[in-house]
C-alpha cells in the first residue's frame, strides 16, 4: 500500500507541482464523463419507466401511480439512503459556500434513484436538479479521493454540475454557464477551463450513447424586430408567473412540513393529487418534454382557456410533488410552464392585436421558457444559453435577451432571492466568495481572541493596579477570582477615572469594588457576526470571551479588522 501511495505521490508531484490547472483539467474531464454517464443513465431509465407505465395511464386507478412513486421515493430517501428530501441544488450551493464543496458519496446516486421513482411514475418534476446533485457529489468525491484542497474541490463540484447539465440537455455552454452562475457564483479563470472541458465531456458522452438526441427540434422562426415589444411584455408576464411559481412551491412545502402526517402519508396525498390532476390534464405529468416539443412545433392543440388552466395546474402539481415528499427538480417544470405561458401570450396577442406581424407560436414558447428559467432561478445567462443551445435557434437571441433580462430583473425586484437561494438566505447561510458575510464566517473566532491579555486578581489593591497600568497599553483588564480562576468582571480604564484622580483612595479599595460585572461577554460558540452585533449594540470596542466561567481572552474591533483585511486579500487575490 505504501508503494502505491509513494507512486501516486511521485506521479502527482511530477505532473502537477508546477501548475494545478493541468490536474484540474484532467480531473474535471473525468468528473464530466462520470456525471454525464449519471445523467444519461437517469434519462434512459426515465424514458423506459414512462414507456412501461404508459399503457396503464388510461385506467381509472392510474391516479395512484404518482402516489406509489412518491411513497417509494420518499421511503428510499428517508429509510434507505437516509437523506433529507428536496431537489438538492441548495445543498450543493450550501456546501460550496460553507464547506469547500464537501458532499456525501451517497448523494451521487440517491437522488437519481428517488427522482426516477417520482418522475417515472408521473410526478411533476424534472430530472435536472437530481443530476446536478449527483454530478456535484461525484466531483466532490473524486476531489476527496485525490486529496485536493477546498478551492480545487469546488472547481470539481462545478465540473460535475456542468457535465450533468450539458449531458442531459446536450448543451455544454448552458452547463458551463449554469455551473458558474448558479452553483459557484464567481467567474474565475482558473474555474472556467476545467468546467468547460467537463461540460464538453458530459455532452459528448451523452451524444455517443444517445446519438439521435435533440431534445427540442424546430423549424426557423423568422423572428424579427416587430417581436421586440411583445418580448418586453412577455418578460413582465413571465416574471409574475416566476414569482407565483416560487411562492406556491415554498408555501406548499411549508404547509406539508407543518402537518403531523408521517412521510409516506404526505407522499400519498401529494402523489394522489398530482395523479387526479393528471387524469384531466396529462400535460402536468412527468417532466413534460413531449408537450414542450409540440408547443415549439406549433402543434399543441389545447385551447386558450385550457392553456391558462394548465399553467396553474402544472404549478400546483409541481408544488404538490416536490413539497409533499417527491424528489426531483424545477428545471423541466419551468420549461413547461414557460412554454405554456409563451403560447398563451402569443394567443392573447392575436386576440388584442389581430393585425400584428409576429413570429410563430413556437418562438414564443422558447421565449417563455427563457423567461421562466431566468425568473425562477434569477440566472439570466443560463436561461438564454440553455434555450439557444437546446433549440439551436440563434435567430431568437435578441428577444431571448430581452425576455431574460426583464424577467430576471423584475422577479428579483419582487422577490429578491431566487428559488434556490431563498432558504439559504433566510437561514443566513448563503455566503458567496468575497462577500462580507463569507469573509466573516471564514474567520475563526479562536484566532481572533487575544489570549495574552493581562488579567488581574479581584483582591488586587488599587495602588498595585495603578502601577500595572503605567506599563500597559491595555484599556480593558479582566478580573479573575484567585482560587478558581473564574471570570468575575472587567475594569475599563475610562470607567475608573474618578478613582485614578484621587490618590487617597489607592490603598482603600480593591478591584472587585470597582470592576464592571454587568458587561456583556462572548463565548467561543458565538459566530463572529453575533459578536460584532453585540459589540455594535453596546457600543463596545472590545469584548471578553468567557467559556465555562473561565476567561479565554479579548476580541477587539482592531483585531477583527486586521484579520478581515488579511482574509479579504487571500480570497480575492488567490488565483
Amino acid at each position: 500500500m505504501s508503494k502505491i501511495k509513494n507512486w501516486y505521490k511521485r506521479i502527482y508531484h511530477e505532473l502537477f507541482h508546477l501548475d494545478d490547472r493541468l490536474l484540474l483539467i484532467i480531473a474535471g474531464s473525468i468528473v464530466g464523463i462520470c456525471s454525464g454517464l449519471a445523467a444519461v443513465a437517469l434519462r434512459l431509465s426515465l424514458e423506459s419507466a414512462l414507456e412501461w407505465l404508459h399503457p396503464y395511464r388510461s385506467y381509472g386507478w392510474a391516479f395512484l401511480l404518482p402516489a406509489i412513486g412518491a411513497v417509494l421515493s420518499s421511503f428510499y430517501l428517508e429509510k434507505i439512503s437516509r437523506e433529507g428530501a428536496g431537489h438538492g441544488v441548495p445543498e450543493v450551493i450550501y456546501s460550496v459556500s460553507r464547506y469547500g464543496g464537501l458532499l456525501r458519496l451517497r448523494s451521487s446516486f440517491s437522488r437519481l434513484i428517488s427522482s426516477l421513482l417520482t418522475i417515472g411514475s408521473g410526478g411533476s418534476a424534472g430530472p435536472e436538479a437530481p443530476v446536478v446533485m449527483s454530478g456535484s457529489a461525484i466531483g466532490s468525491n473524486i476531489a476527496k479521493f485525490l486529496g485536493l484542497n477546498d478551492r480545487q474541490r469546488i472547481t470539481l463540484v462545478g465540473c460535475g454540475t456542468a457535465g450533468a447539465i450539458a449531458s442531459i440537455f446536450n448543451a455544454p455552454i448552458a452547463g458551463l454557464v449554469f455551473s458558474v452562475e448558479v452553483i459557484l457564483g464567481e467567474w474565475k479563470f482558473v474555474n472556467i477551463i476545467p468546467i468547460a472541458i467537463a461540460a464538453v465531456a458530459g455532452a459528448q458522452i451523452s451524444q455517443s450513447i444517445i446519438p439521435a438526441q435533440v431534445i427540442f427540434n424546430h423549424h426557423p422562426f423568422n423572428i424579427g424586430v416587430s417581436d421586440i415589444l411583445p418580448s418586453l411584455c412577455l418578460g413582465i408576464v413571465t416574471a409574475f408567473v416566476s414569482v407565483l411559481f416560487t411562492k406556491i412551491l415554498r408555501q406548499t412545502g411549508k404547509i406539508a412540513k407543518k402537518t403531523s402526517f408521517p412521510f409516506w402519508v404526505r407522499a400519498i396525498i401529494g402523489g394522489c393529487t398530482v395523479g387526479m390532476i393528471g387524469m384531466f390534464m396529462p400535460v402536468v405529468l412527468g417532466e413534460g418534454y413531449h408537450f414542450i416539443q409540440l408547443m415549439i412545433l406549433g402543434t399543441f392543440s389545447m385551447g386558450t382557456f385550457l392553456i391558462f388552466v394548465a399553467i396553474f395546474a402544472k404549478i400546483f402539481a409541481t408544488a404538490m410533488t416536490l413539497g409533499w415528499g417527491g424528489s426531483g427538480g424545477i428545471f423541466a417544470p419551468c420549461l413547461l410552464i414557460g412554454s405554456l405561458t409563451g403560447i398563451l401570450f402569443h394567443k392573447m396577442l392575436f386576440v388584442f392585436f389581430p393585425d400584428i406581424i409576429s413570429a410563430r407560436e413556437g418562438a414564443y414558447a422558447l421565449l417563455g421558457m427563457t423567461g421562466l428559467i431566468s425568473g425562477v432561478m434569477q440566472a439570466p445567462l443560463t436561461g438564454i444559453f440553455l434555450i439557444v443551445e437546446i433549440t439551436g435557434g440563434y435567430e431568437t437571441i435578441l428577444p431571448l435577451i430581452v425576455v431574460s433580462s426583464i424577467s430576471s430583473t423584475m422577479s428579483h425586484y419582487i422577490e429578491p432571492a431566487s428559488f434556490y437561494l431563498k432558504e439559504l438566505i433566510e437561514r443566513g447561510q448563503f455566503l458567496r466568495p468575497g462577500t462580507d458575510a463569507r469573509i466573516l464566517s471564514d474567520l475563526d473566532l479562536g484566532e481572533l481572541v487575544d489570549k495574552e491579555h493581562i488579567r488581574v486578581s479581584e483582591n488586587m489593591v488599587f495602588r498595585e493596579f495603578i502601577e500595572l497600568i503605567k506599563t500597559s497599553n491595555q484599556n480593558f483588564f479582566p478580573v479573575i477570582e484567585d482560587a478558581t480562576d473564574e471570570y468575575k468582571g472587567v475594569i475599563q480604564i475610562t470607567a475608573i477615572r474618578k478613582y485614578v484622580l484621587d490618590p487617597g483612595m489607592y490603598d482603600m479599595i480593591f478591584l472587585n469594588q470597582v470592576m464592571d460585572t454587568d458587561i456583556l461577554t462572548a463565548s467561543l460558540d458565538n459566530g463572529l457576526q453575533e459578536v460584532l452585533d453585540m459589540m455594535d449594540m453596546n457600543n463596545m470596542d472590545s469584548i471578553s470571551v468567557v467559556e465555562h466561567d473561565l476567561f479565554i481572552g479579548m476580541i477587539s474591533k482592531n483585531r477583527i479588522l486586521d484579520l478581515y483585511r488579511r482574509e479579504l486579500i487571500m480570497q480575492t487575490t488567490a488565483h
Binding site: M1, R82, Y94, R98, L102, K144, D525, E547, H548
Partner: protein
C-alpha cells in the same frame, strides 16, 4: 485549559451509562462536557476532507420531552456545570451540521452498529470514518459506567501510537492517575521502542509519569489484553498500519475494542497532540 467534549445524549438507561462515563471522563481530565440532544435521527460532521453523515438509531430520539431534564440531573449528580449544544447550521432541514472543533467526542459503539446495543460488537463504518478524519481523540465508552483508576497506553511505535502516548501522559498529568504502557513486540526489540520515545523527547515525561512499561511477545497479545486492569482507561492509536494490512490480518483497534470492556480513547491519524 478549556477542553470540550461533545456527547450525543441518548435518553435511555443505556444512554445514561454512556453519559455518566463521559461526565466522569470530563471530571477527571478537567474538560467541559457539551451535550447534544438529537432532534433528528441523523447529523453531518464536516471534516477537512470528508463529510460524514452519522445515522442514529431510534433510541436516540426516545422521550425528547424528558431528555434535557434527565441530562441535567446527571450533570447535577456529577456536580458539573451543564452545557447543551444547539446546531446553528443545517445542510437540510432534518440534517444538522455538528461542528468538528471539539477536543474530544464521545462516540458510543452503537452509533452505527445496531447489533452492539448490549454486547461489544464491532465499530461501525461511521465511527471508523470519524476516527479517521477527526482532529480530536474519540472516547468509546464501556457498556456500563465504570470509573477508571489508571491509564493504559498501547504503544506500537507508529505516529498514531505516539499521539496516544502523548495524550495518555497528558491525562496522567492532569488526573494524577498511574499510567502503564503496553507494547507487543513485533519483530523489534524493546530498545527500539525506547529509542522512538527518546527521539520524540518523551523519555523524561514517561519516566516521571508512567508506572511500568510492559513488553509482550507477538503471540502474547491476548495475554496482554487480559493483563490490562479492568478499570483502566485504554488509550490507543488507530490506523497505525496500512489499509491492506488491516484488511488481511485484521485491525488491532477492532480486536481490542471487541475484546475488552474498558473505556477506550482512540487517536486517529489526523489528531495532533502536544504535551
Amino acid at each position: 485549559m478549556n477542553y470540550k467534549l461533545l456527547h450525543i445524549f441518548r435518553n435511555t438507561p443505556f444512554g445514561r451509562e454512556t453519559f455518566l462515563q463521559s461526565l466522569y471522563f470530563c471530571k477527571i481530565i478537567n474538560a467541559h462536557p457539551v451535550v447534544y440532544i438529537p432532534k433528528s435521527d441523523k447529523f453531518l460532521m464536516y471534516f477537512s476532507n470528508d463529510a460524514v453523515q452519522v445515522d442514529l438509531d431510534a433510541s436516540y430520539l426516545t422521550s425528547p420531552e424528558t431528555a434535557k431534564t434527565h441530562a441535567q440531573d446527571l450533570f447535577d449528580e456529577m456536580e458539573i456545570k451543564s452545557k447543551f449544544f444547539e446546531p446553528k447550521n443545517f445542510t437540510a432541514s432534518s440534517l444538522p451540521d455538528i461542528p468538528t472543533n471539539f477536543d474530544y467526542l464521545c462516540c458510543p459503539r452503537s452509533v452505527s452498529d445496531l447489533s452492539s446495543k448490549i454486547g461489544l460488537g464491532h465499530l461501525g463504518p461511521k465511527v471508523r470514518r470519524i476516527i479517521k478524519h477527526a482532529t480530536f481523540p474519540i472516547l468509546i465508552t464501556s457498556p456500563v459506567f465504570k470509573p477508571w483508576k489508571s491509564i493504559s497506553v498501547f504503544f506500537g511505535g507508529s505516529k498514531n501510537a505516539m499521539n496516544s502516548l502523548k495524550i495518555g501522559l497528558k491525562i496522567a498529568m492532569s488526573s494524577g492517575l498511574p499510567l502503564d504502557i503496553y507494547t507487543c513486540l513485533e519483530k523489534k526489540e524493546a530498545s527500539h521502542y525506547k529509542e522512538l520515545i527518546n527521539a520524540a523527547d518523551l523519555t523524561e515525561p514517561v519516566k516521571q509519569l508512567s508506572r511500568k512499561w510492559h513488553f509482550y511477545e507477538k503471540d502474547d497479545f491476548d495475554t496482554m489484553l487480559y493483563d490490562i486492569p479492568h478499570n483502566s482507561l485504554i488509550v490507543l492509536g488507530a490506523y497505525g498500519h496500512g489499509l491492506i494490512k488491516d484488511f488481511l490480518f485484521g485491525s488491532k483497534m477492532e480486536q481490542i475494542q471487541s475484546t475488552v470492556t474498558n473505556n477506550l480513547l482512540i487517536t486517529g491519524p489526523h489528531c495532533s497532540i502536544s504535551l
